[in-house]
Symmetry: C2
Subunit: 292 residues, 2 copies
């Protein structure tokens, strides 16, 4: 069993795990995501986070925004279509035994897209839970079309970021009381959002409906969540020509449940795969290649 | 010819005009929109803005967010469908000779909407430039379906606010250089936005296209503007079952030109009507009723 260090280094956070003979024996977290390095260099943050770990003896595999032009080093994207098996051979070395995983891109006139970090989850997911279509919900949700272990195409919907912006920065959320979870409001949102291409004209209605007293002002967050996710799943499954095969949702349980519910509403089966588990599995498969 | 005072009192600004025998003899502006009153009451701002004007002798007609629950007094909406001719009889008096114009609402399960201020422009527009469909671009663009002087239905698209949020607060605009006007980028945006229901998956592509070097980083604002407006005009003309009759755009010239270009691209004729002119004409028609 391989010994290695795995680092998930994103925009706002960093998490690191030390595996010895395949078992995680230590885990660390830091808020030094690549947008929050302060006056430290990535190499300094790296040294501090891995202090006491055998970084000169075992391979260190890093994924995420650490490979962007705002990170440690700008690592070129692998352009789709691409087999995930190619990733381990296309790492960029930044220290004696530390490598950064390349992100994926799509560069066609009808689709420009990029991902960094999700490719590592996909690498794990194709082994743990093969599927022709993955959805990876979050700030920037990714919809990934696969053919075995080849990534054919992917698209991004800024669902999480839009929900935050609309609720916190736009007129929709202005003056609202503290929001409460409400499953019925979420479900209503899914119903409206999934049945209608006119999402942009629906957004103002969220505001108008509570101004007119037609919707509880404490349930706007969940209604808006349903509206955006409902629209997203209807649009993206159609665009991907999703068949009756189940879709795999790669996410934490709370978010996975929302997507599962929305997919169910439009008649699509789905299975879930925990995002952390997929990431760890992906890093391990790269570490195994490096060790051999 | 009637003498009166007209006030356009919105969220962020206030403009006031003194008409004597039908001729504007003085005009004033203030930044004391209803969200920026500071510690003054609306009545105090009113007294200060109209100082020296004959507010006890001639009617004062006010329109806009001054009639909202955040304004001087919450003036009930007139619910659509409604004839614009009813407005003059449904004013709310706040001072001896000062009235606030009611906004309009739609309250149906498939459409909740509100407007305050635009109804006064519509009142002018139906006389100056009758049309079955008006579009009133801006922060919250209104699309209004008419039957002669009756407002049948209207919807709102938060195009202006979304453009601002996405460019200034989201990842799309992060780190961009100063933006330059670029007609070709706007036109490209219109092409993509008007041909595609998947606007939410197109937004991230705006980011990815400049990250990948496929689009000039100084033209993102205009491309995004085209994308949003192109999508809006395609969606809303379809939703309104717009016929071949020309659509009337009520706006200032710069914004009107963008909408005219986007409508032309999808094969729809349009005519423009200056928003200020429509507003002044609408207020005058109300003042005429009050004077008689």
């Amino acid at each position: 069993m391989t010994s290695y260090i795995a680092i998930d280094w994103g925009s706002t956070n960093l998490r690191a795990w030390h595996y010895q003979a395949g078992v995680c024996i230590d885990e660390r977290r830091s808020e030094a995501g690549v947008t929050r390095l302060g006056d430290r260099t990535p190499a300094e943050v790296f040294a501090s986070v891995t202090a006491g770990w055998p970084v000169n003896d075992v391979p260190v595999v890093m994924a995420g925004m650490v490979g962007s032009n705002a990170g440690w080093l700008s690592v070129p994207y692998l352009s789709c279509p691409v087999a995930l098996g190619e990733i381990a051979g296309r790492l960029t070395r930044v220290e004696e035994k530390a490598w950064i995983v390349p992100g994926l891109s799509v560069e066609r006139a009808d689709n420009y897209n990029v991902m960094r970090g999700e490719e590592t989850q996909l690498l794990g997911a194709v082994e743990l839970q093969p599927a022709p279509l993955y959805v990876m919900p979050g700030t920037h949700a990714k919809w990934v079309q696969m053919e075995q272990d080849r990534v054919l195409d992917f698209r991004t919907v800024m669902t999480g970021e839009l929900h935050h912006l609309l609720l916190k920065q736009s007129l929709i959320g202005a003056g609202l009381p503290e929001q409460q979870a409400n499953a019925a409001a979420f479900h209503e949102g899914v119903q409206v959002g999934s049945n209608d291409a006119s999402i942009l004209s629906r957004l103002f209605e969220v505001r108008a409906s509570h101004v007119l007293g037609a919707r509880d002002r404490r349930h706007i967050s969940d209604f808006l969540s349903g509206l955006l996710i409902g629209h997203e799943v209807a649009l993206m499954t159609q665009q991907a020509n999703a068949t009756s095969q189940p879709i795999t949702i790669i996410a934490g349980s709370a978010l996975a449940q929302r997507y599962q519910q929305a997919l169910q509403f439009i008649g699509m089966d789905s299975v879930t795969l925990e995002g952390d588990r997929a990431f760890q599995h992906g890093i391990r498969s790269i570490a195994n290649v490096l060790a051999n």
